[in-house]
Point group: C2
């Protein structure tokens, strides 16, 4: 996509593609459809971006960048693990809710990429999951968290925050910060009340 | 799909469609592809099932039926809420892991159905979510669970068990029962150890 010199036009193409890929799916969307969304000729778009898979790759990469950009400063901060996890959940929920279309494309339509790019996306997803896992492992190590399996706990956190794109509707009863707070409370404290928690016996 | 008299042939068509819809997506799969999978002529398949959307509807409905069939006896049983939740999580994970392709089609490709059928799927998903929510609300009411928001807790549980289809690979390190046990432990007990749980102060 280096051939697109104008960053505004590039953003417009990705925005339009993101909406259409999310609503109809990658295969049901043509480059002509994307071009029509931004009042351009399909042929002219092709000349600029090379092909539909390049656009999907651009949209997916942009979404991945957003998730990493939101998480990186939290992990780098000098904060206890519980506070890092709280902020990581809020940051992820913010990315998902600010663009449910980007989340849909990143979480599902990426599978329509070719093998090499699919492998690259998988590596980035694994890397992101690894960062969450590391954060949880650090909390287990210093006693901030119970001795949970960091792998499973990381997958649970990821499932919870990614799942938001399935049911979130802008303008609903709760805003993204409240959703994040609810999820964080449940993930940290679980469903059981004091005394019934098998791992947390009171003295 | 009433026109398919032979249940075995119907199952074979749905199985083939499920694999292809999951791997390639609905739009990239033709009725001819499905027919080729089961060594039949595309035209003959068309004559039997009416069209590709009918096949998608059949696959999605079958998956929904499986989830309900697994959950219903658990809810009807005379068991405490914690035990029901434990079994509901295990049952859902069992359905997802026994057929990741069905889960993928049910959780994503259903959105390619026409508006009326999409609304019908949404109603069934809402109904299933409502059953989980009711189970959690019952546990909150009798003190088995902390005073959590049943809606959020239900969504968290659903996200956690549905998320399994994103990373589960048959033959991995943990079998479905162990995955369910890990998730249940995390969902019930949370990440925090005793004493640091803000909701669970020891007397």
């Amino acid at each position: 996509l280096a051939r697109i010199a104008d960053p505004e036009r590039k953003t417009a193409i990705f925005d339009a593609a993101e909406r259409l890929f999310s609503a109809r799916g990658y295969h049901a969307t043509s480059v002509r459809d994307i071009a029509a969304e931004i009042d351009r000729q399909g042929a002219s778009l092709y000349a600029h971006v090379g092909g539909k898979e390049d656009i999907l790759w651009g949209v997916v990469s942009r979404a991945a960048d957003e998730f990493f950009a939101a998480l990186a400063p939290i992990l780098a901060a000098d904060l206890p693990p519980v506070e890092k996890l709280r902020r990581a959940i809020a940051a992820h929920v913010r990315v998902v809710t600010s663009s449910p279309d980007a989340a849909t494309v990143y979480l599902h339509e990426w599978q329509q990429l070719g093998p090499a790019r699919r492998a690259a996306v998988r590596r980035r997803r694994d890397e992101y999951e690894g960062l969450l896992r590391g954060l949880i492992a650090a909390g287990v190590a210093d006693g901030s968290f119970a001795p949970v399996d960091p792998k499973f706990a990381g997958l649970l956190v990821l499932s919870a925050v990614n799942g938001v794109y399935q049911w979130y509707r802008p303008g609903g009863a709760l805003d993204p910060e409240q959703i994040a707070a609810h999820l964080t409370d449940l993930i940290l404290n679980g469903l059981l009340p004091a005394g019934k928690d098998v791992r947390k016996e009171c003295p």
